[in-house]
Amino acid sequence: MKKLVIFFLAIFLPLFVITLLADQEEEEEADQKKQEIKLVNYIRKANRNTREIVDHSKFEVLKGHFENAHKVTEACLGCHTERHIEIMESPHWKWERNEVIEGKGVITLGKKNTLNNFCIGISGSEATCTRCHIGYGWKDKSFDFNEPTNIDCLVCHDQTGTYEKEKGAAGYPKENVNLNYVAKNVGSPGRENCGVCHFWGGGGNNVKHGDLEKAMIDCSREIDVHMATEGEDMSCIECHRTENHNITGKLYALSSENKNRVTCEQCHTEKPHGDDILDDHICRVACQTCHIPYYAKANATKMIWDWSTAGKLDGDGHPKHENDADGNHKYMSIKGTFIWDDHVVPEYYWFNGLADHQLIDEKIESIPVQMNSLDGKYMDKGLCRKTSTPSKIWPVKVHRGKQIWDPVNKTLVQPKLWDKEEGQGTYWNDFDWGLAAEKGMDYLELPYSGEYDFVETEMYWPLNHQVAPKEQSLKCNDCHTRHNGRLESLGDFYLPGRDHKAGVEIFGIFLIAASIIGVMIHTVCRIISGKKCKLNNYTKN
C-alpha cells in the first residue's frame, strides 16, 4: 500500500507542480499582453524619422522679397504644381461639401451655409470669420474660389510660429509677418497649425469642441494620452491621415454621412484589450465612451450661450464684458450670456455615424431646435437600411443656446453681425437685432417676416480627443450600477447591473421564501417526530 502511494506521488506530484507553474506562466504572459498596447499601422515615437527631407531655405525662388501673400502662394505652386487642384476640392477650401441626408437628398453643407448655436453663421460677416479660412480675400460673395493664388499655404505649413492672420482682414496675414522668413521655413502641419483654428473656433479657446484646446499643444498624459509631450507626442495628422490634401476625419456639426472618418481601430484593432469581455463591448460601445471620462480637462468649454441677453450697455453707452469666477467671459454685450464648465462628464447617446441638420430655410417643427442631431438607437443593430454598422453609445458634448429666429416664418435667422464700421446695421456695432436680421437675411436672399424672437437650440458634438490614460478610464461599475450610473439616461435597453426586471426578482424572492418555508416545515416535522430521529437517539445515547 505504502509503495503504491509513493508511486502515485512520484507520478502526480511533479505533474501537479508543472501544471501550476505552467498556469502561472500563462497568466504572466496574459498580463504582459494586456500591458502591451497592440498597435497596427502606427510608427512609435522612438522609431519615427524626424529628419527634414527638404530644406526650403535653399530654394532660390523663396529667397526673394514677397510683395504680398499671393506671391508666396505663386512661388509654392511653382514647384508643387497641381497641388492647388487638390486644395480647391477640399472642404477646408470650399467650406462646404455634398452630403446625403435621409429624406432631404444631396445637400451642400458646410460652414459656408450651415448655422450653429455659437456665432450663428458666417454670412454677411465673412471678412472676420474667414480668418480661419485657408485663403486670402474671402470678404463677401465675390470671392474667387477658382484663383489658385488665393490659397494660403502658410497657415497650415508654417513652422516658425510667427505666421498669424489679421483680425477682420478676410484671411490676410498681419502686416508684421515676415513672409520671406515663413516661406523658407515650411513643413508638415503640426498641432499649432491645426490648432490655430480648431482650438479657437467660436471666438475663444475651447469654446466649441470641449476636447480641442490650446493646452494640447504641450500637454500631459492626463490631458491626452496620445498627444502627451512626454509620451507619444502625436500630431493631429498622425490620426487624421492625409493624402493629396484630403484630410480624414469629419465633424458632425457640419457633416452627415458615415464616411472619411478617423477611428481608434485603425491603430488599435477591434480587439485591443486582450480580454474577451472588454473586447465584446466594442460591438455597441464606442472606445471614446470609456476612454474619455471627462472633457475640458485643462480649460473650460462653453456649455450655454444665450444671445437673448445681448445688447446691455454700461452707463456711458459702451459695450461691456464680465467674467465668471474662473476668468471666462460670463457676459458680453455683443454676444449675451455664457455658462462654461470644466472637467465635464459627457452626455451619452446612441450614434450610428449619420447626422441631420436644421437648415436655414427649413421650418422649425420642435423646440428646442436640434441644430444637428445624431441618428441611432439600441435597436439599430447594423442590419437596417441606414448603415451597415450598429449604433454605438457615444460620449457627446451638448451645447445649448438661445438664438434669434423668425417666429412668423418659423425659420432660423442669420443676423449680420460684423462690419469694420458702425452704421452698417451689424449687431456687434449697432445693437439692433431687427436691423441685423433684415440685413443678414437679405444678404442670403431668404425671406424674413420682420419679426424676431429667441428660441432654444441644442447642438451635439461627439467627443474624440482628450483620451485619458487607461487607469483613468471608466470602470465597470461606472455604468453597471443601480444608481447614478453614466448611462442612466439611455433607457431603451437592458443593462446588467443597472436594470432589474420585477418578474425575475419576484421569482427569486419566491424561491428563497419557498426554501425557507421548506426548511421550516422539515424542522417542524423533525420536532414532531423527534423520538424517531437519529440525532435524538444519538444525543440520548
Partner: protein
C-alpha cells in the same frame, strides 16, 4: 495556564482597541469626500429653486472663496468661505453685517461650492458643530447656473473694477 489565556485575551483586546482608535487616513481628497458625503443629506438644484421661490426660511451659504463668489452666486446666499465657515457660525457681528440672525442649531442650512466637493466637507463640519438641518447642494453652483443660467446675483463692485470695456471675443 489560565493566566496565560487571560493574558492573551487582554493583549488581543488592547490590540483591537489600538487599531480602532487609529484615525483613518485617505489616499486622496476625493476618497475623503466620497466617504464623508455618505453621512450627509444633499439637495437638488430644482428643489433649492422651489424653496427660494417659496420664500422658505433657509440659510444658503456659499463656501467658495470671495473671488469666486462675487462674479456670480445664487440669489440670497451669504459668502462664508470654507476656511472660516466654522468660526463665522457663532460670530454675531458677521451675521449682523449680513443683515441676518445668527443661525441656531435647528435652522435649515444649505451649503454650496463650485461643484459640490467643498460643500460636503463644510456640511460635515457644521454637523460636527451641532447644526442639525444641514444639506449640501448636489453639483454646486455650476449645476445651478447650467440649469438656471440667468438666475444669479453678482457683486462686481467688490472686485475692484466691475465690468470692462476691453475689446474681447468676436471672431
Amino acid at each position: 495556564m489560565n493566566r496565560l489565556i487571560n493574558l492573551i485575551w487582554i493583549m488581543s483586546l488592547m490590540l483591537i482597541i489600538v487599531s480602532c482608535s487609529k484615525e483613518k487616513q485617505y489616499a486622496t481628497a476625493d476618497e475623503w469626500v466620497a466617504e464623508t458625503q455618505l453621512g450627509l443629506e444633499k439637495i437638488k438644484v430644482e428643489d433649492l429653486k422651489k424653496k427660494i421661490d417659496d420664500f422658505e426660511m433657509i440659510y444658503l451659504l456659499d463656501v467658495r472663496e470671495p473671488n469666486e463668489h462675487y462674479p456670480g452666486f445664487i440669489p440670497g446666499s451669504i459668502n462664508t468661505p470654507g476656511g472660516v465657515l466654522i468660526f463665522k457660525m457663532q460670530n454675531d457681528d458677521f451675521w449682523e453685517s449680513e443683515m441676518a440672525y445668527t443661525p441656531q442649531k435647528e435652522d435649515k442650512i444649505i451649503v454650496y461650492c463650485k461643484k459640490g466637493k467643498r460643500s460636503v466637507m463644510a456640511a460635515d463640519a457644521l454637523k460636527k458643530l451641532g447644526y442639525k438641518n444641514v444639506k449640501y447642494l448636489d453639483g454646486g453652483f455650476k449645476k445651478w447656473e447650467l440649469t438656471y443660467p440667468l438666475e444669479y446675483d453678482e457683486k462686481l463692485d467688490q472686485m475692484g473694477g466691475g465690468s470692462s470695456h476691453e475689446e474681447v471675443g468676436g471672431c
